[in-house]
């Protein structure tokens, strides 16, 4: 009994040591809130956490298979514009969502094909896609936000709140199921670690990458849908600030770069840390430039550690 408790305790300590940066952020955050009398259990914290976690889960799935996606923010932004444009054309929301899912699915196929079949480096390919998305939709919208005038933002709506919470949990469960209980989840990790070996083993890496990128697109669609619902608008700038936030959250959560390592729990912890970090930086009166600098440092540090390992 004592032995069991001790081993459990050791396991917890090991986990804490593994997540030491997150633990430090958590402690600073809670102390900061307590000292200043801020309530850290507000809706806003969970809303931000939900959004960043959903995006991070999508990027996480891609990163597991070794792809460093720089286009997801632009893809989300483009999706918000498309959602609003289609909605303004009078399409019912269900149809709009199916169309956006299909559009993002096509983008997922494209990403998977370019990386898998043509062996394009994901960073270069997604950088190119990012530019294409942003400039195309910037041209389409003149860079302006497009408002859903006839429909108020659902921010703060009780039913939509419940719906988004349920959607959030569902997406996390799907992610968990995908990673642990499907062949594709395992194949993703395998490709992330050693694509050549997977290919030599006779597996169709292109097909696997297509499936994985299509699934990631579902997460980006969900994030775009939530953003449009909360702001009542779509814009080519919508969500673009999440690019580095999400990448930093993933690295904080211990998601490896090109080693197929990382767990959903890490993504959740990393996302929570990132939300706390943004809050701390903003409310400590520091410019948000520091946020971007810190995000960059986290990414550099984590990639260095991954490559070193």
């Amino acid at each position: 009994m004592v032995k069991e408790t001790r081993s459990k305790l050791l396991k917890v300590i090991r986990q804490l040591m593994h997540n030491k940066i997150n633990v430090i952020i958590f402690i600073i955050f809670f102390l900061y809130c307590i000292i200043n009398g801020y309530s850290f259990y507000t809706l806003s914290f969970f809303r931000q956490f939900m959004l960043i976690t959903i995006i991070a889960a999508g990027v996480f799935i891609q990163m597991l298979c070794g792809d460093f996606d720089l286009s997801f923010a632009a893809q989300i932004a483009a999706s918000t514009v498309l959602i609003v444009l289609l909605k303004r054309q009078g399409f019912p929301i269900g149809v709009v969502l199916i169309l956006i899912l299909a559009a993002n699915g096509v983008i997922g196929v494209l990403k998977g094909f370019l990386i898998g079949a043509l062996r394009m480096p994901s960073i270069i390919m997604t950088l190119a896609l990012q530019i294409i998305f942003s400039k195309f939709f910037e041209g389409l919208t003149n860079g302006n936000s497009i408002m859903l005038y006839e429909q108020k933002a659902l921010y703060g709506n009780m039913y939509f709140g419940l719906f988004s919470a349920a959607l959030f949990i569902l997406l996390l469960l799907v992610c968990r199921f995908f990673l642990h209980q499907t062949y594709y989840g395992k194949y993703g990790r395998m490709i992330g670690e050693n694509i050549e070996l997977v290919e030599k083993s006779g597996l169709n890496t292109t097909a696997i990458l297509i499936v994985i990128h299509m699934l990631a697109s579902v997460y980006f669609t969900a994030a775009a849908f939530l953003m449009v619902s909360w702001t009542g608008s779509g814009s080519i700038n919508m969500g673009t600030s999440y690019l580095f936030k999400v990448l930093a959250a993933l690295f904080l959560g211990g998601v490896g770069y090109r080693n197929g390592k990382g767990e959903l729990s890490g993504v959740i912890i990393g996302s929570a840390s990132m939300v706390m970090l943004v809050f701390l930086i903003l409310n400590s009166g520091q410019s948000l430039f520091y946020e971007t600098i810190i995000e960059g440092l986290i990414i550099l540090w984590s990639v260095t550690i991954c490559l070193k390992k």
Partner: protein, 339 residues
């Protein structure tokens, strides 16, 4: 399986409860301040003023970008004024991303800001601002008028465009005897700037009918380097170009440098814009090709004044307009000295 189901239900319940908690707060979301509230008694305001001095005030400034001199000037000014009053001040740039703006508003509310100065560009943050209002946070909208505010400081963008146009036309008529070859820098990426651009064009057409508008160029919103690149192109494309009129000083100052670099700096070349930045003033004072800018009535003091008044409980249901002044070589000494 049962465990997972219970966890799922509990998770949904927990998050849902939190959301409901907020939603209940949101239900009491106020409409723009009621007109009758403006009729507060002087005595009540006086009491509030005493409270204001005694309490810890925290101001949050939500800027679309902090990489532009105009917003940096406001940010610095607000910081100074707030520090002078012993107020806490935080600023955040949301990089024209409404989702980040909403998160920033939430963080400011959680961080117990008493007033948020929101320089948002549209109504996409209205719901979040309304939720903030419901939490007792005062909202000052600046540069845009939506449905949610306690006070709204704004300008007539078309009118400003006309003022820039009037300055340019006046110079074209006197210096170039009406033979202006004009390029207008506008942007369609922002409704306000588009209005300014239109005001410029309309006024030039009205006051300098002999001048020719060679091209109206979309140079983007606050794109660093766009002024330089576009001016270099325009100078090559139109060798007889002699007047550049821009919606903002940032692009105008870059254009000034590009014109100087091209060796076209002369008394017969003029650049006009708006914002009253230091570099624009320098250009005018040094008799560079920068000929005129429109300066807003000191924006930061106005913001601070209305911050105080709103925090003291005053209500401003109607938009409050900023005053503007045209600055040319004739009156630059009032605004700028080399020291």
């Amino acid at each position: 399986m049962r465990k997972k189901l219970v966890s799922l239900l509990m998770g949904t319940f927990m998050v849902g409860t939190l959301l409901m908690g907020c939603a209940n707060g949101q239900e009491a979301s106020p409409a723009p301040a009621a007109p009758e509230a403006a009729a507060e008694t002087a005595g009540e305001a006086e009491d509030a003023k005493e409270d204001l001095a005694a309490s810890d005030i925290k101001i949050g400034f939500l800027a679309p970008t902090l990489q532009n001199e105009f917003f940096i000037t406001i940010d610095n000014g607000l910081k100074e004024e707030c520090t002078a009053r012993g107020w806490e001040y935080i600023a955040v740039s949301f990089e024209n991303d409404s989702a980040t703006a909403v998160s920033s508003i939430e963080n400011m509310v959680t961080g117990q800001c008493d007033l948020i100065i929101a320089m948002v560009s549209d109504s996409s943050c209205d719901a979040a601002l309304a939720a903030a209002q419901a939490e007792g946070v005062k909202i000052m909208e600046c540069g845009v008028q939506t449905e949610v505010y306690d006070v709204c400081l704004n300008t007539d963008q078309y009118g400003i465009g006309k003022e820039i146009g009037a300055m340019a036309s006046d110079w074209i008529n006197t210096q170039l005897e009406g033979a202006g070859k004009v390029v207008v820098y506008t942007t369609y990426q922002n409704e306000d700037m588009q209005k300014r651009g239109q005001g410029i064009q309309d006024m030039i057409a009205e006051l300098a009918p002999d001048a020719e508008i060679l091209e109206v160029v979309d140079i983007g919103k606050d794109v660093v380097g766009a002024g330089t690149a576009t001016t270099e192109n325009m100078l090559q494309k139109y060798p007889d170009l002699n007047t550049i009129v821009s919606y903002g000083d940032a692009a105008a100052v870059e254009s000034m440098e590009a014109v100087k670099a091209a060796g076209l700096s002369s008394d017969d070349f003029g650049i006009f814009a708006c914002d009253g930045t230091l570099q624009a003033f320098e250009g005018i004072a040094n008799n560079d090709v920068m000929r005129g800018t429109v300066v807003f009535a000191a924006i930061v003091p106005a913001m601070i004044e209305y911050c105080e008044r709103v925090l003291q409980g005053e209500k401003f249901p109607d938009m409050i307009s900023f005053g503007t002044t045209q600055v040319t070589s004739a009156n630059i000494s009032e605004f700028y000295t080399a020291d």
